[in-house]
Symmetry: C2
Subunit: 139 residues, 2 copies
DNA sequence: CTTGACCCTGTAGTTACCTACAAGGTGTAG
DNA sequence: CTACACCTTGTAGGTAACTACAGGGTCAAG
């Protein structure tokens, strides 16, 4: 548990100092001890918590969902089933996003294939005409 | 070209009146004629333009990209190749998003499979331990 | 003792896209 | 005439997660 100021913690974790203070202000990171000067002093627990946040963000969790995960880890009654439920919900959410993007991709791709990317005047462009709602190219 | 006030246009297109005024303020929709009372009067061109915006949004274009598309349709020198370049860039962007989400999905899914969703104490949960950076479950 | 890196608070800006009033004027049906 | 729906402007809020100062105080090296 070596003590460090906010700059050290920032370098140790790759999270900017402004972001660390932001997390504290918004309750994502507990308020640390202070030196007489007012400087924040962190233990390595803070680094672990920041690592947790970064990992969870990389998995698609929002900060408020991450707060709930922290609350869960502090709840003596919580168990694997609780955590798994959050993970399953997030998985579904990610799947929905992927599906939406895939549909989007397919529509755009179909339109692109109708547009030969040549030098036809733009008034004849199938992409533009589709956007204007003109019939003939349903994507 | 039947004339209509903002409320009619809103109902005809499904775009809220506040949103229509927002589009005008921000240059996504041209300023319409006004009645002596100050009421905005739209022709069906406005409805087409709103339809264009909605369709393009559904394909993943942002409002400022949509503005560029409009600028293109007004440019006598523009052709299909210009439009196709935007479409191709957007397609790449969508593909990147899908890839990122897919990687996220795989990581989370792998973690979930390690977590049997039973009543183990949370300190033994592989998901939580992964987030805390503890070894043993690399996702 | 000075310099420069570091830290503090508080406030406000960013991106993208709306959404919600407040306070007032207009149009029309009964 | 009187409701009542509709329209106007301007300003401000809301989401998510930061990011950027300004204006000051602190600490350590040389
Ligand atoms: Zn063409
Ligand atoms: Zn084309
Ligand atoms: Zn378990
Ligand atoms: Zn578990």
């Amino acid at each position: 548990m070596k003590a460090m100021t906010i700059g050290k913690l920032s370098k140790a974790t790759g999270v900017g100092t402004e972001t660390i203070r932001y997390y504290e202000r918004n309750g994502f990171l507990p308020a640390p001890e202070r030196l007489p000067s007012g400087y924040r002093v962190y233990s390595s627990d803070a680094a672990k918590r920041l690592k947790f946040i970064k990992e969870a963000q990389a998995l698609g969790f929002t900060l408020s969902e991450i707060s709930e995960l922290f609350a869960l880890t502090d709840d003596p009654g919580a168990d694997c089933a609780d955590v798994n439920a959050r993970a399953a919900a997030k998985l579904t959410e990610i799947d929905e996003k992927i599906e939406r993007l895939t549909r989007m991709r397919e529509s755009l791709d179909r339109l692109s294939r109708y547009c030969p990317a040549d030098e036809h005047p733009i008034t004849e462009c199938s992409i533009i005409n589709h956007l204007y709602g003109k019939a003939g190219f349903d994507a």
